[in-house]
């Protein structure tokens, strides 16, 4: 049942979409349907009226003639009585028949029948006659009884008269005549109404044809009118769409003083104001980015001098007393931190300005991850976190910017070391046809939902009181995310307080392909570390320390 419904829905989906999309189709269809209903009602009424008036006027004619014929025949029989009081009924009968035939002036007179009323005992009888070929079954018993019971009246009944194997509409008018000495006879005159029917058919055909034409004309007129009316609206819609796509210089042509012109004028005013606002904002934002970039550059020269000076002092550390030496050490580490902040700030401002070039080249993801692990191995060792690597795939080359990819991975691992609580850190690599993914999992403090939501915010720190060993600038993940986005990739986070955190980056394998599903689940399954974050015993030393 449901499947059937779904199939119907599938079949209907195309037309339904078209129906929703086209205002013109909708208007024309609705107009045609409604006018079709109206025309049908009016046409039906007209047809019925014409039918009954045609029938009635014919019936009046028929009845009038019947009355005349009936009284004539009665007179004919009455006059056939000789002065002696006898009558040759058969002769009278045949002259009556001739009289009936000559009397039938109404078109389509179909015949007659003179039938003896049953149940009489009379001195003589006259032979019942009727038009040859007339099927007497059409004279129903009811009609004949009605005629006999009320002889002073005319009785009429519509019947279907068989003619040449077809039935045509006809009316039978019955009356009673008294044949002297032979008793009462019923006279039935049959009138063929088929010409009325054919007139009616013609009228109806004309009506139907006229109605269809009328509906078509209405539909055509509606189509023209709607087209005329929605043409400008359609143009306005297209212009608005292009405007929304960023073509801010799009405007509507203003013609005349009608409502469309008002719409066009208002639209143009709105567009003008939006454009100028955007230009102003763009200028402001460029100024600000420029400022950030200039500040970062201007700071570099004095920073270089400071660094060189500190370095020269560092060469002569042996000559310094303990406190001076410690001061120098602090100076050096803070200069380093300052430097990386400047670098990150500049990178961020470059992303904000959209002035980022991705230098794509074939890179081996596993090699890059290995390099990053090697680079951070001393720091990890110092913090007591074993670094593990699980490679499921990704041995082939992918197209990426190695500098940015390295930066993402270093950032993930650095964060994991900082927040890993000296538990193991596992880096996963896998790939599928479209994408390659790198995930870094720790079993450290983890974050709650609110913190996860803010993790890519600039200068945001999960816990400001925590000691940082990687000298993070607070821009690392923000930059990593921009790096991933610049590759048309993305970064996903999983984290649970107390269970740890997993960052996963998914990048397309090449510039052409796109990322749908990540090759790695989040967080990936591993057998190297148990759920409490302890190394599984079988893990050998080689797996623990990167080569």
């Amino acid at each position: 049942m449901w499947r059937w419904w779904r199939e119907v829905k599938d079949i209907l989906a195309g037309p339904v979409r078209f129906w929703r999309a086209s205002l013109l189709t909708r208007t024309v269809t609705v107009t045609a349907l409604l006018s079709g209903v109206a025309v049908t009602v009016i046409g039906g009424y007209m047809s019925l009226t014409i039918q009954s008036s045609l029938f009635n006027s014919r019936l009046d004619q028929v009845v009038a003639e019947s009355v005349r014929t009936s009284s004539q025949i009665q007179a004919l029989f009455d006059n056939s009585v000789t002065p002696a009081g006898t009558i040759d009924v058969e002769t009278a009968n045949s002259s009556a028949q001739t009289a009936i035939r000559t009397n039938q002036s109404v078109p389509g007179a179909g015949g007659f029948a003179i039938l003896r009323t049953p149940g009489q005992i009379t001195p003589q009888t006259m032979t019942s006659t009727s038009t040859s070929g007339l099927d007497l079954d059409i004279l129903t018993t009811r009609l004949r009884q009605a005629v006999v019971q009320a002889p002073e009246q005319l009785h009429q009944q519509s019947v279907a008269l068989p003619v040449d194997g077809e039935e045509v509409p006809a009316v039978v008018v019955g009356s009673v005549i008294q044949v002297p000495t032979a008793g009462s006879y019923e006279l039935y005159l049959i009138y063929d109404f088929s010409d009325v029917q054919s007139t009616l058919n013609l009228v109806q055909q004309t009506l139907v044809l006229g109605s269809i034409l009328l509906v078509l004309v209405i539909a055509l007129v509606t189509w023209l009118v709607v087209r005329l009316a929605i043409g400008p609206v359609k143009r306005a819609a297209q212009t608005a769409e292009r405007f929304a796509q960023g073509f801010l210089e799009e405007r509507l042509a203003v013609k005349g003083r009608d409502v469309i012109a008002t719409l066009a004028r208002s639209f143009n005013e709105m567009a003008q104001s939006i454009e100028s606002q955007l230009v102003r904002l763009g200028k402001l934002s460029r100024l600000q980015q420029r400022f950030v970039s200039d500040v970062s550059h201007e700071l570099r020269t004095p920073l270089t001098t400071i660094r060189l000076a500190a370095d020269v002092l560092n060469e002569r550390r042996g000559q310094l007393d303990a406190e001076s030496a410690r001061s120098l050490e602090l100076l050096l580490t803070q200069i380093e931190r300052f430097e990386s902040m400047l670098t990150d700030l500049l990178e961020m401002s470059r992303y904000d300005a959209g002035a980022v070039n991705i230098d794509y080249e074939p890179v081996n993801v596993v090699e890059i991850v290995q390099d990053c692990l090697d680079q951070l191995a001393p720091l990890a060792e110092q913090k007591g976190s074993p670094l593990l690597l699980e490679v499921f795939g990704g041995y082939g080359d992918v197209e990426a910017d190695p500098r940015r990819l390295r930066r993402i991975v270093l950032n993930f691992i650095g964060n994991a070391i900082d927040h890993g609580e000296s538990r193991p850190i596992v880096t996963f690599v896998d790939s599928n046809e479209q994408a390659v993914a790198i995930a870094v999992r720790d079993w450290g403090v983890g974050m709650d939902e609110r913190e996860v939501a803010r993790v890519f915010d600039r200068f945001w720190r999960a816990d400001p009181s925590r000691q940082r060993s990687t000298g993070g600038t607070g821009l690392g993940l923000a930059i990593a995310q921009e790096d991933a986005l610049a590759h048309d990739g993305r970064i996903d986070v999983w984290s649970e307080p107390g269970l740890g955190t997993c960052f996963r980056v998914t990048l397309p394998r090449s510039i052409q392909s796109s990322v749908n599903d990540s090759p790695l689940p989040l967080p990936p399954e591993t057998e190297l570390v148990d759920t409490q974050g302890n190394l599984v015993d079988e893990v050998s030393r080689e797996q623990v320390s990167p080569r």
Binding site: H297, E298, R300, T301, P302, L303, T304, T305, R307, L308, A309, D311, V312, E315, I335, E339, L342, T343, L346, R350, A355, N357, D359, E361, P362, D397
Partner: protein, 238 residues
């Protein structure tokens, strides 16, 4: 005699600090405050390496670089505050051999200066004297490149790049290997250095730089020289 370094920088504090640092490394230094002075001093002090700041008052560092290149092949290391690709590439295209981004690690700067001062490794291959690739002759002891007897001006670095490729004709060198063998870097450096210098080299030695025959690109791998007409092993009969 100690190698002489010409430091061109308008920031006096930084210039003085570089000077102090370089003295500590046993270099002799001279300081120029702007481009005009630098071009003048190039004649008088005849430096072994020029350290050139990109942002200079008056004549821009890029222009100074291009002007030095008109008369001299002296190794130039650019000091730049901008790590943007466009800036770096422009400097290299103007003839700089290498660049360092401020703030730089003093050891890195010294390493790069020393790499530029390093004697050329062709002394290790004394048996080769002349290599011909396509219609270009490389005269190894004379440090000259000629096409049909006409000398083509190459900087020492460009010559070194061409020679490294030509000594092993048809062998593909990755950018990393070239960085190590030509620039003398043991660590990972910017491979754009190689790209830009190959472009510069081609513009000088190739008849049609868009369809190179002397230095060919092997996509995704690196570069190689064209087939040697006179193999490096053969003794030339000049």
């Amino acid at each position: 005699m100690n190698p002489t370094i010409l430091v061109v920088d308008d920031d006096l504090a930084l210039a003085e600090m570089i000077t102090i640092m370089l003295h500590g490394e046993e270099f002799e230094t001279h300081h120029a405050e702007d481009g005009a002075q630098a071009l003048e001093m190039l004649e008088t002090v005849n430096p072994d390496v020029v350290l050139l700041d990109v942002m200079l008052p008056g004549m821009d560092g890029m222009d100074v670089c291009a002007q030095i290149r008109e008369t001299s092949g002296v190794p130039i290391i650019m000091l730049t505050a901008k790590s943007d690709s466009a800036d770096v590439v422009q400097g290299l295209e103007n003839g700089a051999d290498d660049y360092v981004i401020k703030p730089f690690n003093p050891k890195e700067l010294v390493a790069r200066i020393r790499a530029r001062l390093r004697p050329s490794p062709e002394s290790n291959e004394p048996q080769v004297t002349l290599i011909q690739i396509a219609d270009v002759e490389i005269d190894v002891p004379g440090h000259e490149v000629r096409r049909q007897g006409v000398r083509i001006n190459l900087t020492p670095l460009e010559f070194q790049l061409l020679l490294t490729l030509a000594l092993k004709p048809q062998q593909v060198f990755s950018r990393e290997v070239l960085l190590e063998q030509v620039w003398g870097y043991q660590y990972k450096a910017d491979t754009r250095l190689v790209n830009v210098h190959v472009q510069r080299l081609r513009s000088k030695i190739e008849l049609d730089p868009d369809n190179p025959v002397i230095v060919e690109t092997i996509r995704g791998v690196g570069y190689r020289s064209g087939k040697a007409v006179t193999p490096p092993e053969a003794t030339p009969s000049e």
